[in-house]
């Protein structure tokens, strides 16, 4: 009986403590609940120390979530039920989200640090006057290759990819616009071409590349290049930077016919709950020292002009990462070609993939 009473008291005491702790937790949860900021970004696309610094400075609690495709990100925002305050779509996706009325126009009175951004990257066709978006990172599409695995092959031109010596050596990303765009560029056409004959020609040319293709895969390209598993890859500059930091033999080049110039941009989606926090975050990310630290961590090129002087001069003067204005003339930004055309691109790409053996 005594043991029973003791047991009951113990249980009651434990329950009481748990109730108190729970109440305490709920209170602090509610506090931070009023001041949280949900950032929805690509994976590995921010220096985590910067989030901590931002939280410390502002007292805002940051919830960081990641996505791996523009389309997936838009789907989640479009379907609602989410409360993302910040997200980072690529340029064509900014266009698409704007058309679907998923973005909020930015109030530049609240973003004084916009002055740090290079005017060259402002007011681009995908978002005139930067009404909805601010460039976050930019880069190119090119060829990353490992000379030690090749016999003197270089890549001044896209056509070098077709060289017979590269049998089963080339890896590309699994993305219709990139691969078909490369073929279009190699023929001297625009990578925004909507001309059916040009697209047909580009697809037929792409089919002749088949013997050289080792695989068409996703983010695994980076790992494969690092491990010397593949010698040549069609890849974005940032991923090439990742490869080079792990494997010093690798180098990156943008062929002379031109290529894609891309931007990922900060926007405030319609799902925003903490709009003041969102502006604070954007303004924070645009500080020169923050942008520099972030670019150093992520490895992509920053559009923040003031940040450039804080970065390693060797990187900034490297025209593989920061092509000069003359080199940029050959680069093209993707336009949103509409779903119909995107379907055509994907069907042609599928045709190429079906033909790879």
């Amino acid at each position: 009986m005594k043991a029973l009473v003791r047991g009951a008291v113990l249980i009651a005491a434990t329950a009481a403590i748990l109730i108190i702790i729970n109440a305490q937790l709920a209170k602090s949860g509610a506090q931070s609940g009023g001041n949280t900021l949900t950032v929805y970004n690509w994976g590995e696309y921010i220096d985590p120390d910067l989030i901590k610094q931002f939280e410390k400075e502002t007292g805002i609690n940051v919830i960081y979530e990641t996505f791996d495709s523009n389309e997936g990100m838009m789907g989640k925002i479009e379907q609602g039920g989410t409360s993302y305050d910040i997200t980072v779509p690529s340029e064509y996706m900014v266009e698409m989200m704007r058309e679907k009325d998923l973005l909020i126009p930015l109030d530049y009175d609240k973003i004084p640090n916009i002055k740090n951004i290079d005017p060259y990257f402002m007011d681009l066709p995908f978002d005139p006057n930067n009404t909805y978006s601010i460039p976050y990172f930019w880069g190119t599409l090119g060829i990353a290759y490992n000379p030690t695995l090749l016999e003197g092959q270089t890549f001044e031109s896209w056509d070098n990819l077709w060289d017979p010596s590269l049998k089963q050596q080339v890896v590309t990303v699994d993305s219709a616009r990139e691969v078909l765009g490369m073929s279009l560029n190699s023929l001297g056409y625009s990578l925004n071409s909507t001309n059916v004959d040009e697209l047909r020609e580009a697809t037929d040319k792409l089919k002749t590349l088949s013997p050289n293709i080792k695989a068409v895969i996703g983010d695994e390209v980076t790992q494969m290049m690092m491990n010397n598993e593949a010698a040549v890859s069609l890849i974005w500059s940032g991923q090439a930077a990742d490869m080079m930091s792990e494997n010093e033999d690798i180098t990156y080049v943008v062929p002379e016919e031109g290529s894609n110039l891309w931007f990922d941009n900060i926007v405030i989606p319609k799902t925003v709950k903490n709009i003041d926090g969102a502006y604070e975050f954007i303004n924070f990310m645009l500080r020169p020292e923050v942008a520099a630290q972030n670019a150093d961590y992520v490895g992509y090129s920053t559009p923040n002009k003031k940040a450039l002087s804080l970065l390693d001069p060797e990187v900034v003067s490297d025209d593989r990462y920061y092509p000069d204005e003359k080199a940029r003339e050959h680069l093209e930004v993707y336009k949103d070609l509409g779903l119909e055309m995107l379907g055509t691109y994907n069907e042609l790409f599928l045709e190429f993939k079906m033909n790879m053996k």
Partner: protein, 285 residues
């Protein structure tokens, strides 16, 4: 409380109770089987701008999709064939072992591990600098490109599907009355005839359900096609994934899905034909 007891009693005896007990099942079927299939069929009749159209169906027959279907079937056939080739003798061997349930469990355990993890493991194993190539090199064969070939795709798929093939065959073989085999031998049949005329027909149902659970998912494999085959093998599953996620053409994606469902129904019908007769003769033993 008394009411509940009465209800239970009534349920056991009453038709109304029987009907009541069907509610969860019917709801489930309605919400998670019929409604989604209905939605897929519905979406398949709309184009990108939301107009009613049959173009998606026309498109399926005129473009790359037909070729895609043929290649999907070919690879699904290869995967099923090799799974069966390995599973039948394995299952037969297992039934002869002393601790057969334990051995069976050991074969099943890998299927508890996440598919993606296993696939990534194969990337490492089959890579140019992986253990398989290291072995080939020491043996003197030299480095081979294993990853991103038909071989690697079929091999990994077979590895993944084998437990699902073994299980029904094992069960069928296990239920087989050994007296029948003895009788067959006593009546003068040799080992091959016994297998062909007694064992195989009596375990055919296990084989058929094995084929069902392998062939149908193999038709719509999509992740392995990219990771192991480097997109050199493309199945209907890949095409559906692309239509929904990249092209955002839900209509076309749904149309491909409708065809996939139709193909699956055909396969189900083919592999379950005669089942009733077979099951009857199985029970009789």
């Amino acid at each position: 409380m008394r009411d509940l007891k009465r209800m239970v009693r009534r349920m056991k005896t009453n038709r109304a109770g029987l009907r009541l007990s069907m509610v969860p099942y019917s709801l489930w079927i309605l919400l998670f089987v019929i409604a989604p299939i209905g939605l897929i069929v519905y979406y398949s009749f709309f184009d990108l701008s939301g107009n009613f159209t049959f173009d998606n169906y026309k498109n399926f027959f005129t473009s790359v999709y037909l070729k895609l279907t043929v290649s999907s079937f070919w690879y699904a056939f290869l995967i099923t064939f090799f799974s069966l080739l390995i599973s039948y003798p394995t299952a037969y061997f297992l039934t002869k072992l002393k601790h057969k349930q334990l051995w069976l469990l050991l074969i099943i355990i890998p299927s508890w591990i996440n598919l993606l993890l296993k696939t990534y493991a194969f990337i490492g194993l089959m890579g140019l600098y992986g253990p398989v190539n290291a072995l080939l090199e020491t043996v003197g064969i030299g480095k081979q490109q294993i990853l991103f070939t038909d071989f690697s795709f079929v091999f990994v798929s077979v590895y993944i599907f084998i437990p699902f093939m073994i299980l029904p065959i094992f069960n069928a073989l296990d239920k087989l009355n050994p007296a029948l085999i003895d009788a067959s031998r006593d009546l003068g049949a040799n080992a091959w005839t016994t297998f062909r005329r007694v064992i195989w027909p009596l375990t055919l149902n296990g084989v058929k359900s094995g084929i069902q659970v392998v062939f149908i998912p193999a038709l719509s494999l999509f992740m392995i096609t990219r990771l192991i085959a480097g997109n050199k093998v493309i199945t209907l599953g890949t095409a559906i994934e692309q239509q929904f996620l990249v092209t955002q053409n839900w209509g076309m994606g749904s149309t491909i899905a409708v065809f996939l469902i139709l193909f699956m129904v055909v396969i189900l019908l083919l592999t379950t034909a005669n089942e009733r007769g077979m099951a009857g003769s199985g029970k009789k033993r």
